[in-house]
Subunit: 667 residues, 2 copies
């Protein structure tokens, strides 16, 4: 299946008769070199300056045997060995001497599109751009056109840019219908700007590249997730309504819950991230980072959890790998040498702005097990059904780790270790499929170890790169990287520099999240200054309508979850996933398929009453009007409560949709 074709100085490497590499002396496929990086970090935001000393083209080659080629210049060489396993092409790389910069050019075609690379918020189609693979804060504003980003940069250098993301991964899908993964957690850049090659750059020689073709996109996702692994299924309860994110202690949260129930909201769970207590900083309300139930504001929490359980409402909490200095868990971890150290061999203390924390060293198997035990004893055994497993993207590059590996090389690996720690805690308690935790940071392996993800901290506005519209490309790109379960904070999170959440934004976000892994609200970083549903009966009634819709869709949604778990299809899929012949669909990042049969083009702009929708060539029935369309560009009414959603006329579940249409009809 691998074939080397040569003529003069030209070497073509084909796999399944498809061109993978095209090498000539003038345009070599491999370059090795040396560089030196400077990395400055500001609370999870990183400034990376890379100075390249040398970049040597390995312009010459010799075929070693039928499976290996040596590329070289002078005495510097790279032996590339190919093998095929389970239909996958695996290339491994062996340099003649140590180098710290590696460039590889995969053959590209001018019309090719690229997707994936983890969670990408600004551009779903990655072609024509260069993406850094380095887990970090997503950034506030994320665009030079965003005033929010301007102020965030002034404050904390936290404005971000189009490629800052909590979850980057050197894994992508090509419209040539292959998936490709490069095996290294080091910093990398994937540059898809060039018409004739994709340039893949790492700060080390990667272990391997893996690449596999399939005939269709669904098949491709199955193949990819056969390789990466797939998560356990979502517990059924998350489809029964919304997970309400509430804070402030038992009395307050139960009060809000009652109001929501009275106003017709179906509630699947109560998520109290402040279960361990609260602290106030100038950024806003922050949690008390000592992961022990707080008896003061949540007295007799077990009892509360049991009472809620009896009503069919789950309880959820929060944890992250940081521990508040001088508190019980920190002290225990520090005594046992379980915390990450600084260069001086002392506990690495991170200043989070008015509070100080240590970080559990997940590369230390004992620390990993201890923290897994904390999750088990303090969270799972309390009876909780899920939690936000926050952070993962902060590992400072000057940290000293137990496993002796440079923190720069572990940085992108960290979120995966954090996912594994949560996964193992749940697995050992035999609760996979019953408990769901949600993570924002990710890396290669999150496909298996994160039971679900959320899109991180969006701004509470309508901005393309960091507001409501951005959660669609995030879902689509993570989906194409093999993560099937994505959702976002209803209403967004970050309220800074004058950005304040409005009811309209909350309502529209709520509509969108019906068609994600599950619905969950968040009060945001400054709850009292921003719109909260519990202050507004109309908003609760609207949310109630949306949770009823979600519940009504449950039989369908369960089939979508099954496809995710068994075949690796993301719940939210790009339109071309099932309609690959329509070139226009490859550029859409404002609409998606929710499973095979629903097409959703949510309203993500303010002051909208109607909206244009591009329908693939098929027969579509509007979910709220029953009107039938046969593909093409249409325009439909889209008042609040009636986002443009269509089901396939030929769906096996058409009857279900028809009954929903009757109940939720616009007219």
């Amino acid at each position: 299946m691998i074939r080397f074709e040569t003529s003069e100085d030209r070497l073509e490497i084909k796999f399944n008769e498809e061109r993978i590499f095209l090498h000539t002396e003038e345009h070599p496929c491999f370059f090795l070199g040396r560089g030196r990086e400077k990395i400055a970090s500001y609370l999870g935001n990183f400034e990376i300056d890379d100075y390249i000393d040398t970049r040597m083209p390995l312009a010459s080659y010799e075929i070693v045997d039928e499976n290996a080629v040596r590329f070289f210049t002078g005495s510097l060489s790279l032996k590339v060995t190919f093998r095929v396993e389970n239909n996958r092409l695996i290339a491994s790389f062996n340099p003649s001497k140590p180098v710290n910069r590696f460039w590889m050019r995969l053959h590209a075609e001018a019309e090719e599109h690229i997707y994936g690379c983890g969670a990408q918020a600004s551009y779903f189609n990655l072609r024509d751009r260069d993406f850094r693979i380095w887990t970090s804060e997503g950034g506030v504003g994320r665009s030079p056109a965003s005033l929010t980003a301007f102020y965030a940069n002034l404050d904390t250098r936290g404005g971000g840019s189009y490629d800052t993301t909590y979850y980057p991964e050197p894994t992508f899908i090509s419209s040539r219908k292959y998936w490709c993964h490069v095996g290294s957690f080091s910093y990398s850049r994937l540059n898809f700007e060039h018409p004739d090659f994709h340039e893949i750059h790492f700060w080390e020689v990667p272990n391997k590249m893996v690449l596999e073709f399939a005939d269709t996109y669904p098949e491709l996702l199955t193949r990819l997730t056969d390789y990466t692994g797939r998560p356990p299924k979502l517990p059924d309860f998350v489809h029964d309504g919304v997970i309400l994110g509430l804070q402030g202690g038992t009395e307050k949260v139960l009060g809000h819950l009652d109001k929501a129930l009275e106003n017709g909201v179906d509630v699947s769970a109560l998520w109290c991230q402040d279960w361990a207590g609260i602290r106030y900083t100038s950024f806003g309300k922050r949690l008390y980072w000592n992961w022990v139930k707080n008896e003061e504001i949540y007295p007799k929490l077990e009892k509360t959890i049991q009472d809620l359980d009896a009503k069919g409402i789950a309880f959820m909490t929060y944890i992250c790998p940081f521990l508040l200095q001088n508190e019980s868990l920190f002290n225990e971890a520090e005594e046992n040498g379980f915390l990450v150290l600084n260069k001086d061999g002392e506990t690495y203390i991170e200043d989070f702005g008015e509070f100080y924390c240590g970080l559990v060293d997940l590369t230390n198997p004992e620390a990993f097990n201890w923290y897994k035990g904390v999750i088990q004893k303090n969270l799972i055994d309390l009876g909780v059904k899920g939690w936000m497993a926050d952070f993962g993207e902060y590992l400072p590059v000057d940290a000293v780790l137990h496993n002796g590996i440079d923190a720069k090389k572990m940085h992108n690996h960290w979120p995966v270790l954090w996912a594994m720690c949560n996964y193992e805690a749940v697995r050992e308690r035999e609760k996979l499929g019953e408990i769901v935790y949600f993570m924002r940071a990710g890396g290669h392996g999150s496909q298996r170890y994160a039971t679900s993800m959320w899109a991180g901290d969006q701004s509470v506005n309508w901005e393309k790169d960091d507001g409501l519209p951005s959660v669609i490309p995030i879902a689509l790109s993570t989906g194409m990287t093999g993560i099937p379960f994505m959702h976002s904070d209803i209403g967004g999170y970050t309220s800074l520099h004058g950005n304040v959440r409005t009811r309209e934004l909350f309502d529209r976000w709520c509509e969108l999240n019906v068609f994600t892994a599950y619905m969950r609200t968040h009060e945001g970083n400054r709850p009292s200054e921003n719109f909260q549903f519990y202050d507004d009966e109309d908003a609760m009634r609207h949310m109630g309508r949306m949770t009823s819709l979600r519940k009504a869709l449950k039989p369908y949604i369960k089939t979508v979850v099954d496809e995710a778990v068994n075949q690796g299809y993301p719940m939210q899929r790009p339109l071309f996933f099932h309609y690959e012949d329509d070139e226009r669909l490859y550029h859409k990042q404002d609409a998606f398929m929710f499973g095979r049969d629903l097409l959703v083009h949510p309203v993500t702009k303010s002051d909208v009453d109607e909206q244009g929708v591009l329908l693939p060539n098929d027969a579509w029935i509007h979910l709220f009007t029953k009107e039938t369309f046969h593909g093409g560009s249409i325009r439909v009414k889209a008042p609040i409560g009636f986002p443009p959603v269509f089901y396939r006329a030929s769906s096996a579940q058409a009857k279900l949709f028809e009954s929903i249409q009757k109940k939720f009809s616009m007219t």
Copy 2:
């Protein structure tokens, strides 16, 4: 004087016993490679994306003879030939095959400081940073911390950054007491970030590098300007008061002039940039770009000029190398093939926002001569004593030029051609030293061909990178590049995005400009919305005080001008220029020496009543209080009208300063 010292793989190249290059296999001095650039331009703002294909270290060397070394890797080599001429080290470079990327590492010392590289507004000391050498608009705001820059970027991508400048040049001064010039106009980057080398990067192999040592900074500037050339002297009249920038036609400008004279302002010249007419755009008031006197608003201009002359007031105008489409000069130039063409062989029309222009092709000797004639006939022969010779930094990279050279390679050369065109016009009329034109764009050669420069278009505010404070580093860095005559628009120019000039800003700017090449006001881009002196008698009286001070200083200033013309010392000099032993002075960019005997630390912040001043080790007398200081950090009162200025007690002109002290005393 050149010496090669070798040991194992190490080669040291010394000149005058000073280390110039230190080469080892691991740390080579030369790299050659290939790259491809993408350059997008937006009205003089450029976005440059440089993709490096290869960067080959020339790790090996062989000594060819006592004057030449061949650096090489494989078959790729660079022969570097050294010679000494007039005490200068001249290195020339001969590559074995064509390359389009060149890197050279000059030896550097950790404590070394670097200055020059043309007009640098953000950082006078260039060490620890990387500077692009590419003439462009300076940028509005010029900093990620500037809200003005944010909005300018949104509008026109015109926000700029710390190294965007009208006048960049690959020529610098090291605190090791050498000057260095690299002979190429191609795009380059001078990177002074590294502790042990300066990296000099060009998009071609430069012709040569020239480097010369001297014992003192004054001597160094003389040596540098012996090489670059020096301008003719400033005409005396510019020291007799302020050049008033006024617009609106004869009646209006004479009215403003009279008011100024009545309020005690000494006026050396009237500068009417709208002599050829006016047009209004959304940016503000723009000039009518057909360089012919406008009979409508300036009827009988010759007569007006003669009348003013009789009162000792010169008249000044404006010209730039652009010509308004379908007007007389444009038509004449187009008919003769004197305009720059586009790729299709048509006249290259630049859209300036609501008006369209062609550009005179200065690489065409006939066009050059024709335009020189326009300057002579339409300006000089009219009797004007000076003009703003505007623009020079806009040459689009996709233009097609008469001399057949790629516009990318001519781009940095263009401002020098424009300076030469003006220079030759004046020289042929035998008016050098009588006429003064002022330019913002520059390049290597402007030292000789620009009779003076101005600092470009500052924002009308107090911002560090683009407001009042920025004109000091601009003057100091151009000074260290061999340009002695610099000044700026009193009050600044750019009023956009809510920035509006205040009287306080105007007053402080006026104080600063007493101590520059000459004083000149500008109404700014939006005259009616901004503070104008003629609307405020107090401001005129303050300006009058400043012009009297200027006049009183004339005998001293003339000696400073003589030093500029004869020895190449800039009028505004960094403090270390004459006090090289004080390390603290190497970091000062808010104060300067005006000639040998005056130390000026202007007020460039608002709401200031007093100010700290760092004095070098010498005896200093406050120009307005007579108080004597003996170096060190002091604090003095600095109300409007009394900027912190000190003269040397031992000055040969101490008597002059004493008499000024009496007349202008603060008490």
